[in-house]
Point group: C2
Chain length 486, copies 2
Amino acid sequence: MGDDKALTPRAEDFSAWYNEVVHRAELAEHSPVRGSMVIRPWGYGIWERMQRALDDMFKATGHENAYFPLLIPMSFIEREKEHVKGFKPELAVVTHAGGKELDEPLAIRPTSETIIYSMYARWVQSYRDLPVKMNQWANVMRWELRTRLFLRTAEFLWQEGHTAHATEEEAEEETRLMLEIYRKFMEEWIAMPVVTGLKSDSEKFAGAVRTYACEGMMQDRKALQAGTSHHLGQNFSRQFGLTFQSEAGVEEYAWNTSWGVSTRLVGGMVMTHGDDSGIVVPPRLAPSQVVIVPIYRKDSEREGVVGKAHELKARLTELDVRVKVDDRDHLNPGAKFYEWERKGVPFRLEIGPRDLAKEQVVLVKRVTGEGEDRKAFLPEAQAVAELPARLEAFQDQLLTLARKRREEHSYRGVESMDRLKEIMDGPGGFVYTGWSGDPAVEERVKAETGATLRCIPDPDFQSPEQPSRCIGGGEAQSEVIWAKAY
Amino acid sequence: MGDDKALTPRAEDFSAWYNEVVHRAELAEHSPVRGSMVIRPWGYGIWERMQRALDDMFKATGHENAYFPLLIPMSFIEREKEHVKGFKPELAVVTHAGGKELDEPLAIRPTSETIIYSMYARWVQSYRDLPVKMNQWANVMRWELRTRLFLRTAEFLWQEGHTAHATEEEAEEETRLMLEIYRKFMEEWIAMPVVTGLKSDSEKFAGAVRTYACEGMMQDRKALQAGTSHHLGQNFSRQFGLTFQSEAGVEEYAWNTSWGVSTRLVGGMVMTHGDDSGIVVPPRLAPSQVVIVPIYRKDSEREGVVGKAHELKARLTELDVRVKVDDRDHLNPGAKFYEWERKGVPFRLEIGPRDLAKEQVVLVKRVTGEGEDRKAFLPEAQAVAELPARLEAFQDQLLTLARKRREEHSYRGVESMDRLKEIMDGPGGFVYTGWSGDPAVEERVKAETGATLRCIPDPDFQSPEQPSRCIGGGEAQSEVIWAKAY
């Protein structure tokens, strides 16, 4: 594994850097099963914190968790015609079970609209049974040819919310609400600022009427679609007989929404904050927020500093700070510093015999802003008392830095295809232009520049001046954002 | 669904009662996919609380969560010869993916020893890397012919812990520790008393050296194997090259353990505490511990009682009591009482206009002991203040009742096959006898009485007098427990 070798710098080869850092921060690795990854405890601990935060937000907005089958009859997937077109090529199919060939092959769920709405159809009779607002945490499978840890794997972990409503307006409101919850979560927890907006028809979910997405900008200036929220209209309710008797006594089809985020978010975190020393984990997501490294040369020194380390841990734990004491004897302090930097722990506390005598500690911050010192020599009591606030400030700082980076690489008011191409061939970034709504323009941009239409940004993200000309010529219908994407 | 029809009484047909109550308490139902169930929010909410409690116990004993692939190459499963014998007949197999036939078929994991130890083999080099103590929360698949909701389904949710150790003693210690954690969890959270003990060779896990289990007694006097903990010896480490360099510099095979509990525990909860009115959920597991039903006839009364209901909810929430206000207008109070009794909510609070005037409430307890009143008319403030303690007492009472039931149906010192058969043909229960250790005796008992050897009980559960004669004749090697089982 070459753990003492430096990482490939991001500027040299971002993709190589990503692969190395995911391995060497022990987030995940490839498994013997093609396209499937193993999520290691450090990576899974981050995902668990994401799950907990999202789950709380879902529950606070009236959603309940449930669990639906992993296997879906092929005939279900084939019922909604856009859906099957989108997903059939990527299915993994069970043909044999219990030593026999099955009468009907079963697909491992690539997403669960079909099976879930078939169940809702059993449960919903009247408008009084609506809305139904459920979520499930599950594994899904999409057989991808080119896989990358977290970003694109055959199997991945996600949550998928599925709701049914009596009216189109209510479904639209839900779709937007969940998009907004995702945006908030990504900013407040991952410190990953995202633009929200509507997908063009060519990029929307197979079976949706409208897809909204959160788009983040990674450090290589490529876009990461980090979460999506779909208004499904009555497309699935018609296929699965999901009807209800309205207040007026009329039989109507329900309106559905679905929305999901996945372990891809861990990849987004890595590519938003990581540096040439390793990943950086935002304090709110870090399984350990502070690592304490006791420093000693002789056995006689060991007891004092290790004892102090555990005492500080106890005091910090009382302040709800998550602390790890690294008292492994077979590694020298340098090796430990290196490992925890690679794993992105926000703060390191060093305590040596001299610090002990002076009742001070050395506090080292994983990421510093311009002109900020990396190390602080602090009285022990002060370090303990200040750490909760310092962690909060660290979290804010990451978001500010990421937002600044995004703005530096956002180009508004671009009007020519040449300029768009120049940006894509050069530094890359988010390019805002007008668009006529014609899919042929999307194809042309993709062919000439490699960029895709990321979204029609929501009002909060639109340029002050709305463009009047389409990048492909003619009149613009709306402003759109182009970028190369994961 | 016939929601207003009474349940089949347990005494009449326990199995029919179970199926009905699981459906009508909205815990789960069958899905369109053979053998796979849908876990509905009320059932999933109970499972989530079980998960959280277990997860905390695992982490407190130094285990970390991780995630390993759903699909396992067939060649992996075939490597450990006992393992493949046990699991191959139940596999669901993916033969096609991404529109093509796979070179090697992939099995949906029935359990993950093979894939996990193949990964541990990569990560472990030295004794310093040991122990490795990981757990995963996952879905698994075992193609069963006869399925029953929660008790036996093709797909189920579980956790599986997998550890690697430098010595046999340490692995044995871990195996026993996890068994003890399971026992504690089952008693303290599910209020389901269990006997722990060793499985006979014929009942042990395919690939294990020794299997320990927790055995609960259901209300029909059948045993439920509720959790297992396996000492795997070096069986898997030898097949997957999981070696380490010992402190003495010698290459050695690691010692493994694995242990798991599943959504089967929800079935155990149902069959331990349910009655002819529905299920009973122990307070610690209940998504709602108290349901408040406002009672009113006229609109003029509605505002006052509903307002009070929400006020009481707020006050109880501050005391960490989980409360639901059932203010649905289209159902009368009787229908609500009936529904929440069926779903097993521990306490119901009724408030009508008269109660409001008198500042009192009616508190109704889901389960009462002998001579205990079901209803209490209490001053509002007292009801609020006492509920946390009343919930704790309710939890304890369930355990006491279940333990009493088990003891009433435990038969110690049984010496003849005739007596064993008489008990099994009659009331059923746990029958303690001596056993020579001969598997032929197990076969004979099974053939003649329908009972299987549940376990060789741990010292805490052994009879004061250890039997000297084997139930099949000859000398006893140990005491064992026989019962019919799920």
